[in-house]
């Protein structure tokens, strides 16, 4: 049976038989299905909201929130403030624990990753056991564990562990002296900024000198000396314009100083060491993935181990490490929503929790929470894509 020549078939059959037009047809069909589903969901929402007599609006944001938030380090929040302010407090608290967590997890993770490569058997094994134990237990349990340790095993404020009379550890949190800036500290800050600029200028100059004459300065140490030295001299010359506000026990708790509440402490520590374990494995994998031949070639050329690391291994390892590292940062940020388990007032606990309960605006509050996490995630992924493009190897 001979096949029917393509010219003799119907129009649709001919379009379907062509690679390009077929792909257009498939795309149109897909879009139609997606929009139909979306319309169905929205219609459903509209009908149901109407049936229970709710209207879709964000007006509630300007109404007083009428609830307390125990932890608001940036905004002076009271229960008379609006739901909008409560949401802002929650967003800032989420950001605070995310930023602190990312910083601590990076430092701890890189350290553990390098220790995991150590030839010292004992160090290597200790880190290995810790990593495997931590990575394989859900992060929620870690948060509850650390919170439990802080709240139940640490002494009450009156019997707080005294760290040299200036800092105290108790089951109400960690209390440290907070700096009080006096007159003249602005000048010290200005000197510090100028010193940083000077150090950057020195770095550029040193780079140019190396290009022109080959002389190599130990840039890191000289920059540290410039910044540290200038700031210290200005600080002392102006009569040390800085004092400390010491926490002191008044009544049942400490007053003054810098207070880290147990919820924040527990969430921050648990998220940090949990994520650090994943970062450690990423760092280890990244360094191991740079072929040993690269190091051998560098040694054979006479480069020393530290230069090999700086010029050959790290630039290559970073390309491998950064994308999964960024996705760990993203995970940490999203995992911070588990804060609700221990009463840390993040975005989910404020606008997505109490505000929701009080106003009954499920759709609106959840959309806000969703939007906030989406914006964080998209920003991080945009950065990751940009970074990936900028460091990609050039190949044929």
């Amino acid at each position: 049976m001979a096949a029917v020549p393509i010219e003799d078939r119907g129009l649709l059959a001919r379009l379907w038989g062509n690679q390009e037009t077929r792909s257009v047809i498939v795309q149109i069909a897909t879009m139609a299905i997606v929009f139909a589903l979306l319309a169905l969901v929205l219609r459903n929402v509209a009908i149901n909201l109407e049936a229970i007599g709710k209207e879709f609006s964000f007006d509630f944001l300007t109404a007083p929130a009428a609830y307390d938030i125990t932890f608001s380090p940036f905004i002076d929040y009271t229960s008379r403030d609006t739901h909008f302010t409560a949401a802002a407090v929650g967003i800032l608290n989420t950001l605070l624990v995310a930023v602190c967590g990312i910083a601590a997890a990076s430092v701890l993770g890189v350290t553990m990753g390098i220790l995991r490569l150590s030839r010292n058997w004992l160090v290597n094994r200790i880190v290995y056991v810790f990593l495997e134990f931590t990575r394989n237990v859900p992060v929620l349990l870690h948060i509850l564990l650390v919170h439990g340790i802080v709240v139940t095993t640490l002494p009450p404020p009156r019997r707080a562990i005294d760290l040299g009379g200036t800092a105290f550890v108790s089951n109400r949190g960690f209390f440290a002296p907070s700096p009080v800036f006096e007159e003249g500290s602005g000048i010290v800050a200005a000197v510090f900024v100028i010193a940083v600029v000077a150090a950057l200028a020195f770095r550029r100059w040193a780079k140019r000198v190396q290009v022109e004459t080959g002389k190599i300065y130990s840039v890191f140490w000289i920059c540290t000396a410039i910044i540290g030295g200038a700031t210290a001299v200005a600080f002392l010359a102006l009569g040390a314009p800085l004092s400390w506000d010491l926490p002191a026990l008044k009544g049942f708790n400490f007053q003054g100083g810098l207070a880290l509440r147990p919820e924040f402490l527990a969430l921050w520590l648990a998220l940090s060491y949990y994520t650090a374990c994943f970062i450690a494995e990423i760092v280890r994998a990244g360094i191991l993935a740079v072929s040993h031949g690269q190091t051998e070639a560098a040694y054979a050329l006479g480069l020393r181990p530290n230069r090999n690391l700086q010029l050959v291994v790290l630039p290559q390892a970073l390309r491998i490490i950064v994308p999964p590292l960024v996705s760990q940062y993203l995970n940490l940020t999203k995992n911070s929503s588990l804060a609700i388990a221990i009463g840390y007032m993040d975005i989910v606990a404020t606008i997505g929790g109490i505000s929701l309960m009080q106003t009954g605006k499920e759709m609106e509050t959840m959309l806000i929470v969703l939007g906030v996490y989406l914006v964080f995630s998209l920003l991080i992924s945009a950065f990751m894509n940009w970074f990936n493009r900028s460091i990609r190897y050039k190949e044929r």
Binding site: E296, A297, Y299, P315, K394, E395
Partner: protein, 264 residues
Amino acid sequence: MATASDTAGPRSGAPAVNTSETIISIEGMHKWFGQFHVLKDINLDVKRGERIVICGPSGSGKSTLIRCINRLEEHQQGSIVVEGTELTGNLKNIEIIRSEVGMVFQSFNLFPHLTVLENCTLALVWVRKMPRAKAQEIAMGYLERVRIPEQAEKYPGQLSGGQQQRVAIARSLCMNPRIMLFDEPTSALDPEMIKEVLDVMVELAESGMTMLVVTHEMGFATAVAHRVIFMDAGEIIEQNEPSEFFNHPRHERTKLFLSQILSH
């Protein structure tokens, strides 16, 4: 197989070494990888300007031997003296020797994140502490010698295997080494690229460089080497000048090896 001898032309065998000065002296050297005795009682003197080809079955320790000479591997017994400096745990000595000895690897080991030119200038800038312009001038000189100056701004991933290996040779030569070690430089290459690399190596030999080459390119050995060393199971079994070595092997294991690599 015949590629190198084509280039080397009618010269039968290499000219005699014109000096008797010893540049590398290895005495009673042993090396173990864990329990495995990989090098057994190696004794080898290399004269300045001498060109040695080391061959032998895989796992015979030939790569390990030349890797000991610039301390990419550590020997456990005996002594290795390069240009009067003994290789010990002394980091200063290792640095001195590595700056005298260049090495070319089977898998090229170019730095993929740097351009060809940057690959060549890296050590000049960071080890020899040279101004960039001068380093680039030297590097371009050697890239011309290996006939790929036009690829200077490309990245290693954009080059063919043969081109990459020639860049690796240029990169080593930039440091102006007295001795060049080659660890199976053509084993990872397609046949048509082997010739371009061997041509460069033959030219290098003609310039009087001291060379230790681990290779199975017997044409190259015949045309260029002063001495061929056969290793098996971690020992130097036999060494001789190329024509004697190939035509009248004395040892049974040498005969077996030669029959295997020359049979097809």
